[in-house]
Every structure is written in C-alpha cells, then in structure tokens.
Symmetry: C2
Subunit: 212 residues, 2 copies
DNA sequence: ATAACTTTGTGAAGAATTTCACAAGCCTCC
DNA sequence: GGAGGCTTGTGAAATTCTTCACAAAGTTAT
C-alpha cells in the first residue's frame, strides 16, 4: 500500500468505511467492477469525492471501467487495519454494552471482545456470551496483561474519566465512548465519542431553525 | 434571539450541545459565570472556537467577566429548540431501542417517546415502559395522526430504507438512524446516522496508521 | 485499426471551518 | 476615577475539505 504521506481526514476515513460496506455487498452478489459514480450514489456522496478519497492511498481503478470490487474491498480492509484481530473490552454491562455484544459486525470485522466489566456486584459473575462479567477492579490489570487495544466505554459520564485514566495508564490505545462527556487523554490515544444527546439535539436544532 | 443569517455548521451545533451540557453542570453547582477559556477546557476545544460559535447567535458574554452560566444555558436551550416537546417514535424493539428507552436524558430534554414499533409478532404487545410495542404496520398511520417529529431507526440495514420511505411519506421531519446504511430522503428531512462499525473502523485505522 | 464512449486520477479553484490577533469593554483595586 | 488586568467579539488569515474540470487511459463496436 502506498503509505499516506498527508494526514488523512477523519471524514475520509468514515467514507472509506462506507465504501467498504457497499463494496462487500456488491462483491457478495458477484459484481466485478463499480464506478466512482455508482459508489457515490450508494453512499450518498459525489463521484469526485470517491475518487479523491481513494487516490490518497493509491490508484486502484481502471479508466473506462471503474474499480475492481473484490480487490478494492481487500485494499480497503488493509487500509482500515481490519486484518488485525483487535482486542476489545467493553466497560459497563448495561443496555448499551449489551447492544454492542449483540452486534454481529463486531466480531465479523476482527474486533474480538475479550472481556466485559462492571462495578455493580449484582452484574459481576453473570454470563455474557461465552464469558462472564468481571469486576471493574480487574480492568486495568487485564488491559495490561492481555494487551487490549480498544476499550468501549458504556458507563455514566461521571465515572468515565476516572476509568479512562486507569486504562490509559494500563496501556490502552484506543477508546470508543458512549458516555456523554468529553474525555481527556494523551495525544497518542485515539478516541471516538458517540453522543446520543448531541445527535438528538442536532435534530432539534434542524427542526427549529430550518427554512433559514 | 438573533436569527442565524448564515447557515450554521453541523460541527458548531454539536459544540453548542456540549456547551449546554457543561453549563448546566456549572449552573447546578451554583457557578455564576464561565469564560470561553473554561468552557473550552471542559469541552476539549479552544476559547476562540467557543466565542465564534456563540457569536453566530448573539453576544451573550461580558468582557472581563465571561458568560452568565444560567442565562446562557437558557439561550442555548432556545437555540437548540429544546423548549418544544418533540414527539419521538422508536422503530425496532431490539437492544438498541431498549438502550434508548433506558436513556434518561431523552425525556429530560423534551424528547417524548410516543411509540415503539417492531415487525416481530413476538415482540408486538409486550410492555415497554408505560406503553407497549406496536406492530410496524401501524407506524405510518400513527406518524401521520400523532404528528410525530422524530423517528429513531433501530432496525437492520436491509429494512431501513423501506421504513424510512413510509414514514417520510407519512410526514416525519427528522430521523436518527442506527442502521449501518446510508438513507436517502428528500432534502427537507433532517437525518443523523450513528454507525458503530464506522467508529470502530475509524479507531482501527488510527491504530494502524498512527505515527505517520 | 479507428472512432466513439466511458471513467479514472489529479492539479487547481472554491467553499467551509478554524485559528489568530487585537481593539473594545467591563471589572477590581487602590 | 484612573490604572491594570481580564475577557469578549470579530474581521482577517490560515488551514482544511470539497468540488471542478479535463487530460490520459481504457473499453467497446464496427
């Protein structure tokens, strides 16, 4: 793969992820090639955007024909690092953690859940898929010993920063947070936050101020 | 409120939502004023960004002093349209829908869940909070009759577009989707999509290509 | 083999967003 | 009431991201 010299925009990465999803769909029904125009329509973007995004990483298409569906899928999986078997822990055994556990795409894509943690004694010890819920006290040690890559934070906002500090100290490398708070971490840690309140309020704003 | 002449960037709206969250916290502990610097640190952004964001809507601060916490909270609630009692339906009675139902901030902020729908006959009729799960067939009619504003889509990607088409025809105005697919809607409909796979793959990318 | 058609890859232009930097305003203290 | 210290509000600059537009290259048909 041509290494990205420039910093790649987050929006580009998000779109790559989307291209991959649709390419896999096309691959599944045996389609051989797809044009930037077709991908753009599927993903709700523009052909120029598709071509530009892909061009950061190399030139994968054939002029006059489009992109080879199967091969581009593989390339995108490489680019996105989906070849690895990332070690994931889920922190918080509530509904959100539960929803995540149910989510198939998780394991399918190489995200391997190696532990679920909760501080509530009633939940500790309960079965959870193949494993069981462990006590939060064990989290930091486990992260260190098992070289966990990613932690999914599904606990209340007030507890989140403290837990994050612990697992950062224990060597976590990336965090996906569902806690409605901004997390402070050292710059080498990758963080994504999904904030439902923010999304809803974005809709509320759109409904209120539309037509402007 | 000074009406926004310019189109307001989505990123700005997201930050407004975050400012509001922290301002409410400060208000709760009786803090009278907050500077753009303090807000920026809390929210993980820059003071200039805070001031610029707020300046789109008016000038709420006092030089030398900062922003009045309580008053700015109220203004932000107005701006974000959180005075309304938005009517919300949840489509899909699975784990994600369930997690949403559990989410307090929902009702707190004026989002009123008036119905939960599922096409699975086993789930239809089950209790759900105060109400019960209704059959998906009733969704479009209910949206029309009850003037539902927002639909939360928590069903598989393959079913999502069809349902969305129905409720758009029935007069829905905004959609929050958890289906990992891009939804096609007329331009006057507000749509937000939360895509867990995309977030995880963003982290995978960061872990793979960091240090560049 | 040629012509007509399609589609990529990409500099350059354009648009959007963030950051800078500083004048103006408000507060406090003496 | 004047000086000193903060902090806002905001044009302008810088940066980032998207769109344009077209040459180059491949395909298909004849």
């Amino acid at each position: 793969m041509t290494l990205p010299i420039k910093r790649i925009a987050e929006s580009t990465v998000r779109r790559l992820s989307m291209y991959l999803r649709y390419l896999e769909g096309l691959d599944g029904v045996g389609q051989q090639t797809a044009s930037s125009d077709e991908l753009a329509q599927l993903c709700g973007t523009t052909p120029a955007q598709v071509r530009k995004d892909l061009s950061f990483f190399g030139s994968f298409g054939k002029r006059g024909l489009g992109y080879p569906v199967h091969e581009l899928s593989e390339r995108l999986r490489d680019i996105l690092g989906l070849g690895h078997a990332w070690q994931v822990v889920i922190v918080g055994a509530g509904k959100i953690g539960s929803a995540l556990a149910e989510y198939r795409g998780f394991r399918q894509r190489g995200f391997q859940v190696v532990g679920v943690y909760d501080k509530n004694p009633e939940k500790v010890g309960r079965p959870w898929g193949d494993a069981m819920v462990r006590d939060m006290d064990a989290l930091a040690d486990d992260v260190k010993e098992k070289h966990v890559d990613i932690a999914v934070i599904a606990i209340p906002a007030d507890d989140a920063q403290e837990v994050v500090d612990q697992i950062v100290a224990a060597g976590i490398r990336a965090i996906l947070s569902f806690a409605p708070t901004s997390l402070h971490v050292p710059p080498h840690i990758a963080v994504k936050t999904v904030n439902m309140a923010m999304e809803l309020e974005g809709l509320s704003f759109a409904l209120t101020n539309r037509g402007e």
